[in-house]
Symmetry: C2
Subunit: 229 residues, 2 copies
């Protein structure tokens, strides 16, 4: 059943840049395309938006269908609409970026009979369409955002050590941070709560586990506090 319009209309897609963090790297989830164009090339998970869903709903749906990821932190990044960005014709894509923790979303992805894998940012394959541009913009946005909003926690498990948090910032910002200064500053903010639990199964002294205290953060934010690393 075809659709007919008086004027030319674009195809509308969403694409997701999914960041995950492991012990040493920031990684991105990519899928291998099963169909032309760019058949067999790696690409961002994404697909066509349906007329009865919001853009964010479409992004979450595609994320689930193509990588098995649910409940990710998701935020709109930018809309790419250059003529010529898709060889099939006029296609506009609304790009999102997502933050997940790699432990929970470790090896899923083959759900939709498509191959999916995590790639470290410094060893990316060639990407389909203008997905390399989208990814570069997402990385830049993440670097900017992480300093002024507590989004980094989305990349960690619910309970985490201060060292994990520090390493997260070091990886994203690309520079070393001073341990004592970092710990002092972040604890001073009063937006972490001790869980009372300790790390287990590590081959060094066990660290305290903290949790991000959303309520405290929101309360402080209303009183003029602003997060900054």
């Amino acid at each position: 059943m075809p659709f007919t319009y008086d004027y030319e209309r674009p195809a509308l897609t969403v694409d997701c840049v999914v960041f995950g963090l492991d012990d040493t790297d920031l990684k991105v989830a990519l899928i291998r395309r099963a169909l032309p164009p760019f058949e067999d090339a790696w690409a961002l998970p994404g697909g066509f938006v349906q007329g009865d869903e919001t853009l964010e709903t479409a992004a979450r749906r595609e994320l689930l269908e193509e990588t098995g990821i649910t409940d990710a932190y998701l935020e709109q990044l930018f809309t790419f609409g250059n003529p010529g960005r898709d060889p099939r014709g006029w296609t506009v894509t609304v790009a999102y970026y997502a933050l997940v923790n790699l432990r929970d979303h470790a090896v899923k992805g083959a759900t939709d009979a498509r191959e999916a894998a995590w790639f470290p940012l410094d060893a990316l394959p060639d990407l389909a369409f203008d997905h390399a541009d989208i990814l570069a913009l997402a990385q830049e946005r993440l670097r900017g955002k992480v300093r002024y909003q507590p989004v980094g926690f989305e990349l960690l498990p619910e309970k985490f050590t201060l060292f994990q948090l520090q390493r997260l910032y070091e990886i994203i910002l690309g520079r070393a941070l001073d341990k004592r200064n970092f710990r002092g500053k972040i604890l001073e903010m009063g937006i972490l709560r001790e869980t009372g639990e300790m790390q287990t199964g590590v081959r060094h002294r066990a660290a305290r586990l903290y949790r991000f205290d959303t309520r405290a953060y929101q309360a402080k934010t209303r009183k003029g506090f602003s997060f900054e690393i």
Copy 2:
């Protein structure tokens, strides 16, 4: 000549939130709609994107056609695609915000036989579609952006006094700033150049006129400088 597709496609529009600054207020350019839906209601300037132009090109074209504004600072804001946001059917809009100085773009706008006018942000009329949401988001984005990037200058004439610049920040941020601290900080940055000229036609002591020094800013930025008010 109709266009036929296998799947449903959205209509794609751009909308522009154009900010202008006068002596006391931040204002927004609105146009009065000539056609249904929302006939005679005030709305953001904008319109349909064509298949052979970029999104930004479309935004600039609509801005020119509907308000006569050219050469504005323009930046993509957010894409709104909720089903139901347009009573005519599935319509996705890529919103931009623009910064212009009101002196140069004072009373134009009636170009396209449409009524256009500047409204202060605290006395807005009811707006068509979800344009009130778009405008609110643009204002929030501007408030955030202006502190970390030197975009405020786009709202001023090319040559401006330090007092004009300070008032700009006071208006956008909504709080008073200390004169000596502000002047010290901004001059310290080394991104303003004295023009050697003075204000004329004011009924008080004439102030020095400065110009934003793009080259100095870029050079400093490459060396790690980062703008912050």
